[in-house]
Symmetry: C2
Subunit: 201 residues, 2 copies
């Protein structure tokens, strides 16, 4: 049985939870309170030396970290990951865009707002500016496509949906991005979709 180590408020964890729900996969869910240091204990570091959730335990003692690597592993052989070499590389392009040019700004600012430290951050304005730039890149790409890889809903969409749909919690306005907002709605109405607050019973 798969086991997911996760934190409720995490959009990175939500990527795994959403994909597992879409795939109708059963799994054990273990809540790790990252705000209380539970992802930095010796036990947790043995599963991921980088001390971050989510971590997926594939079988006893075999761990996989990094939300987008977890998504790739789970989606292999399903409709959420294309089989053609170029399309697969394009999925990766957007997964790396998400982790490098989107998450450090949109997710991190949201986290700062949630934990009350945003105003104390010297780089808040720059992070907001870069988050806005990431949204503009997405808007441009989505102006002529239904999903990130053409007309197919893939893990690239899941990865980018995770923190974009809650970007307003970090103070990011989505009103200027009509193509992006239409895409968010297309993702939200996919069969089997679950919200970020959902977790297994």
């Amino acid at each position: 049985m798969l086991r997911l180590y996760d934190f409720a408020d995490s959009g990175n964890g939500y990527k795994a939870r959403l994909l597992l729900a879409l795939l109708k996969r059963a799994y054990d869910y273990v809540e790790v309170d990252i705000l209380a240091g539970e992802s930095r204990t010796p036990e947790f570091l043995a599963s991921n030396p980088n001390g971050r959730i989510p971590v997926l335990e594939l079988e006893a003692g075999v761990y996989l970290a990094e939300s987008n690597a977890i998504q790739w592993y789970l989606a292999e052989g399903t409709k959420f990951l294309p089989s053609e070499r170029l399309a697969r590389a394009q999925v990766l392009q957007w997964l790396f865009f998400e982790q490098y040019s989107h998450e450090p700004y949109i997710a991190v600012v949201r986290h700062w707002v949630h934990t009350g430290v945003a105003d104390a951050r010297p780089d808040l304005a720059e992070r907001r500016q870069r988050g806005v730039a990431a949204l503009a890149v997405m808007e441009r790409h989505l102006a002529s496509r239904s999903f990130f890889i053409g007309e197919r809903y893939t893990i690239a969409d899941i990865a980018l949906y995770a923190y974009t749909h809650v970007a307003p919690e970090g103070g990011f306005e989505l009103a200027p991005y009509p193509a992006l907002r239409a895409w968010l709605e297309r993702v939200r109405v996919q069969p089997g979709h679950v919200p970020i607050t959902w977790r297994p019973a």
Copy 2:
């Protein structure tokens, strides 16, 4: 013929250059002066809406961005990317570690030093601290392995080598990390290895 849009000082571009050299692949090389804004022109943005190098043109008008997606595309079917599902996901785990927990600290601080703006950055100390944390994660992982994915030299090693071996240019000391330094040397002596300063004639 493949065409690589790249910038000489970039470790992200070096990942592609090193892998292409190891694979003995011929390609056109196009220098893009990112410091002069050449990666933000309308022409360049048509190849990568995120305005970043490296970009690999696979055939006329077909572009792939993000250094680690480029590596994945080029390495598919070669010894630099394993064929087993778990090992492939582990390669991705370390590629995402590199882009999220390593490059924004070790590469960015080096870039700031090279361009003379490091001392003006309010988040310099925090970035250095996080870079040191990334090196410690690598040291821990490499203490019991020759390469990141066990005993095999893969694109995970190339990705992490690119900026780690020049980390001292950003003020990072490598002396405290003996396993990491031994790994750097193992990478450096691989047949066909080229240095970061190398580019095709």
